[in-house]
Subunit: 211 residues, 2 copies
């Protein structure tokens, strides 16, 4: 199995954490893609992934997944223990539901804020092969959405150790990567989000956050 | 089980089709939510779903899912036949990967185009409890993205009956709802997208598209 990664990028970090939580870090060949030099847009990488993004997971049979959803689904099904997507039907559904919310309301909101404002991402408002101009109003909307996301996540975490309840899951990985990503681009977690702060500190102690 | 639906809205349609493909339409109580009269923002519905959106699926044990991802995951796990999310690990991963792409590059792109331009959706550029002003440049970007999505989908469907290969899956449901949604808001499928047109006609013949 091969994992196309970029150690400084937030999206493949979700898969890297997932791999580490499964105890598979030493079993998967990791290939670093240099996003800073736009390697993902070059012909060699485009032949691997026409969508020009990381992460990519390639199975030994040659199947390729180009999204965190696809990569993590493969790892969960092929390596069920420890489960990161739930055990029962209801658990699996609640985790899928929360993972989707963390991705859309959290991760994509931070991306919206960053990619529509950072000078180094001019015309790169979306990832992928096509250029899109930055929209300053969309950067402002992204900032608003991230603030609301902190409130949403804080409410979810009230009285809970983890996003989906008692057990650590992929929803925590996505939320952790979203909050880290926000903090890295100077959108700080509000002091009032006490549950987010408690949970973030607890998840930060996991070895998978430092791989 | 209860399904909170809106028969004219594109998002719950995905779950409605999924339910029909599972043969469960007669077994699930469907509750119509009147989005036209903003019932989703009223106190009664907010007590059911604080995110103020449909679809919502409620299990007999009271667990609630507020996203198509969560609703469909529950139905797949609780009613495995016929499988709509794959059988083997690789199939499940490829379908999850494509489903994600149909959602983000297709469905969300159409939403971006519509919700940032329709006069009836003023200040409702995003679904949910919070108002967001329309951004005309984002409507234009949505239009561009939908055109590119037709190209992406056409390439995926080259030489294939269905989005993920030989078998009908959730990726077809999401793609079908995205293309229908685009067509309904007057973004027509280009004549050059011959694979999309062939596939769309074939899927349109399924009874699940008329429920």
């Amino acid at each position: 199995m091969k994992f196309y990664d970029c150690s400084t990028a937030p999206s493949p970090r979700q898969v890297r954490m997932f791999i580490a939580e499964k105890g598979l870090s030493d079993e998967i060949e990791t290939i670093e893609v240099n996003l800073r030099e736009a390697e993902q847009l070059g012909d060699a990488f485009r032949a691997i992934n026409p969508y020009c993004t990381v992460p990519v997971l390639e199975t030994d049979d040659g199947a390729r997944m180009f999204s965190t959803a696809g990569c993590c689904r493969y790892l969960e099904e092929a390596y069920p223990e420890p489960p990161l997507m739930g055990r029962t039907a209801a658990e699996k559904a609640v985790i899928a539901d929360l993972e989707w919310r963390m991705e859309i309301d959290g991760f994509l909101a931070v991306s919206e804020a960053l990619r529509n404002s950072a000078p180094g991402l001019k015309d790169r408002a979306l990832t992928g092969p096509d250029n899109y101009a930055q929209i300053p109003k969309l950067a402002a909307r992204g900032q608003q959405r991230v603030q609301r996301y902190f409130g949403t996540l804080d409410a979810i975490l009230e009285g809970r150790d983890y996003v989906a309840g008692e057990n650590f899951s992929i929803a925590d990985i996505t939320a952790f990567c979203a909050v880290s990503f926000a903090n890295r681009v100077k959108i700080e977690t509000p002091d009032t989000a006490v549950n987010v702060r408690r949970w973030f500190a607890a998840v930060s102690a996991r070895p998978s956050t430092t791989v």
